[in-house]
Amino acid sequence: MIRLKRFNLGMFLFVAAFLWFILAFVVVPNFSIIKSVFFSADGVSTERLQAIVSSQRAVRGIKNSFLLAVTLPVTTTIIGILEVLFLEYFDIKGRKLLKVAYMIPLVFGGVMLANGYMFTYGSRGFITTSLLTIFPHMNPAWFRGYGAVLFLMSFACTSTYMIFFRNAFTNIDYQTIEAARGLGSSDFKILFKVVFPTLKPIFLTCTILLFQTGLMAMAAPLMIGGRDFETISPLILTFTQRPSSRTLAAVLSFFLGLMQLVLLYIIQRNERKGNFLSISKVKTTIKRVHIHSKPLNLLSHLTAYLFAFINAIPLIVVLLFSFTDYQTISSRHITLKSFSLENYQLILTSDTAYRPFVTSVFYATAASIIVVLMMMVIARFIFKYRNRFSTILEMLIHIPWVFPGLMFALGLVMTYSHPHAIVFNNVLTGSLVIMLIAYVVVLMPKTFRFLKASYYGVDQSLEDAAKILGAKPLYSYIKIVLPIILPTVLAMLAINFNGKLSDYDLSVFLYNPIAKPVGVVIRSNSSSESGIEGIALNFVYSVLLMAINSLVFFFVYADGKNTIKNLFNGRKTKNES
């Protein structure tokens, strides 16, 4: 209770308001949907659990999801770290080009990415057709199943490494590396004994995130996993959509939730064991090393270029097809004649096609800013005050990871379709604000984890020094802490924005008719009921979305980079700019 002294009123009010937010928009909706599912008019039914356990498909789905969740962090970590090393540690020629290629997964994801891979490696894809000319007897549908899904996702999920890991990597104190080298360590020993241990918090966060991505994977297994490799999320989606099958969805989500909880528990224990400080106090930037062994050098170059190629090809394919008509897209035979600007014209000139973009940009921006600001304060609070209350608070923040977004959206709609005391007797269903709330809620856990990890990068002694010099907590926070975590903050803003720009799962239940988001438009275009033009238009939509995503990254993340530069080069750059 001595701590109370350090509690200021503002923080207290904020935490209280945050608790209300969690209670009203996380706990109550999830609880109410669970209640409606398990304790329906028919009473509690174990028969539903039976249905899942006796269904081969469901059980195999659970196994497959688990398999993907366990292997994905391994493969992605290998690829992600190699990419970062190629950019920041080893001296590789053509670094600028590589950088652009490695950044592609940041803006190109989900359904469109799977589509790109499908059109590249699928049975009519161009890689397959060229392979067929060399090996005429190979199976044209070779790009299917577990291997294909793992391949696609391993590359697609490197985005967290490209941002957070790379960022932390470049912040390493180069003097420790030099010291190790002076003591005669080899390059690889330095990496494993000196560099990687300091990056532990980032590692752990990336692992959780990848485990979760693997577990919840939707687009890739659905589109290229085929029947050989079905995972659980698509099943949950189908079951959630049908009111009578929601119990099944809830049961399945619990399996997922359980796996998540176990992992989170392990990681949290691990974090308590302590972390190494990962930021340098004396500003020595990392120097890229030349690989002296010739064969190794060649191998690194080849791998680096291969990775870039794998990242870039699907994007180029999607870009190409967005300029073709639906006949070409369904036959996949590109000739010079099949190119036209018709699709773009249709979308850019039609008011109904243009409006969803504005809506989505607004919602994604607002949600991303709100959640980052909120989590900056809360993560700081939890980082500073380690007690039972903050542990519970931390667990509450992770709730959205345990329940699938779709189910949460349903809970939100059902709970607040009539006046409810906890939201001061307002009806939220059908309002403009409900979708924003949902976006904020589902973005919370991820944002929280990264910001918390970035607080670990702040050297406590810097703050102590400021305190001794008489700086007020808020002042030292803004002057000392914020500049250090700013790259993460900006990156989170961009990532959250991009993640929610084309959201479908949540939006379809929540959007207000006058503000229809673009994700819903895309999905309704791709259903066969809406006809064949929809597919062609979707290519255009995704190219435009990519353009917006890239713009945001260029703006926000490029500035983040400048900030780091300013930090490290001190006065020199300041005077220049």
């Binding site: 899942i52 049975s123 079951f239 059902m414 379709s417 002057k479 008719p513 597919i535 500035d559 300013n566």
Partner: protein, 354 residues
Amino acid sequence: MKNIFKIFFVSALFFSILAGCGVKKTGESASKDTSKNEKIVVYSNSVSNGRGDFLKEEAKKKGFKLEVVDLGGNDLFNRLIAEKDAPVADVTFGMNQMMFATLKKKGMLSAYSPKWIDKVDKNLIDKDSKFSPLSEQRVFMIYNSDKIKKNKAIKDWKDLYTNSDLKGKYIVPTNLGGATSNAVVYTQLMNFQDKSGKLDISAKSWDNLDKFFKNGAILSEGQTEVAALANGDVDYSYTFLSNIPVVEQKLGVKLGVVNPPYGVPQTVEQVGILKKKHVSESSKKFVDWLGTSEFQGKWAKKFGTAPVNKDAQSSINSRVKEVMKETTPQKIDYSFVNDHTAKWVENIELNILK
């Protein structure tokens, strides 16, 4: 340090400009919504591919202000049910009689007899006037009639999986989310009702359905049921009535239609007014207009529908008329189907699609 704040300021400005645009847009439409409370919110699964814009334009000529919400059949249905206690929509149209029957059961519809109802076959009309029929829809197997002669084409769904030549040469639904794929399933199951069987269907029929799904091909992404057929990937596929003239023209293919001895499922797309505290006069007027022969005729000509309004039937696309002649409606107890579909689909999803 000043730089950091400059950057912060600039990005804040950037975001607020973005946000400003968004707010302005949504704000505008929101204020429109309240200042002219005659605006009608219409939820429909039949307004994609330019149909919504056409509807809005035509409605505007008659003085209706519409906010059209375009959702797939199942999304639409689930959304309406989720919003049960605070409906946003005033009018919904396009779902079939079974879905509307469920809405009615939940007490979500308000009774209204449109002015044109006497122009419609009496058998199609809901006896409580909670919803009213607009147009017929049929679902059937199709083949490329340039490749397969009519007399060589198969005659029944079961020929698909009993004929070993066709293994992997016909499209089966990937999921059972849509009304069309549901129809593909129940048209096969309904011939084998059996009170003692699993979910009131005989074991043999479940077996057959299992074979049907196992031997079929699923669509790859970026493909539609008809495009896969036009491509030559498969020999047989399925589609719905109003889609025929559209895809034939777009894909340049002439489709043959299979009419099994027991016929093809026929559903009727309906329109209904949602129950609210205050049902506006304009909603009723809109429904009165939506089903008129004048509008239904235009709609049919442009989008290949088969209106039930007798005065509008002369405008039915000639190709659609042909297909209607070639197929006969299957005699199905739709209330039985409606009571069982959810369970059937769940069973298929858990135990057959594997």
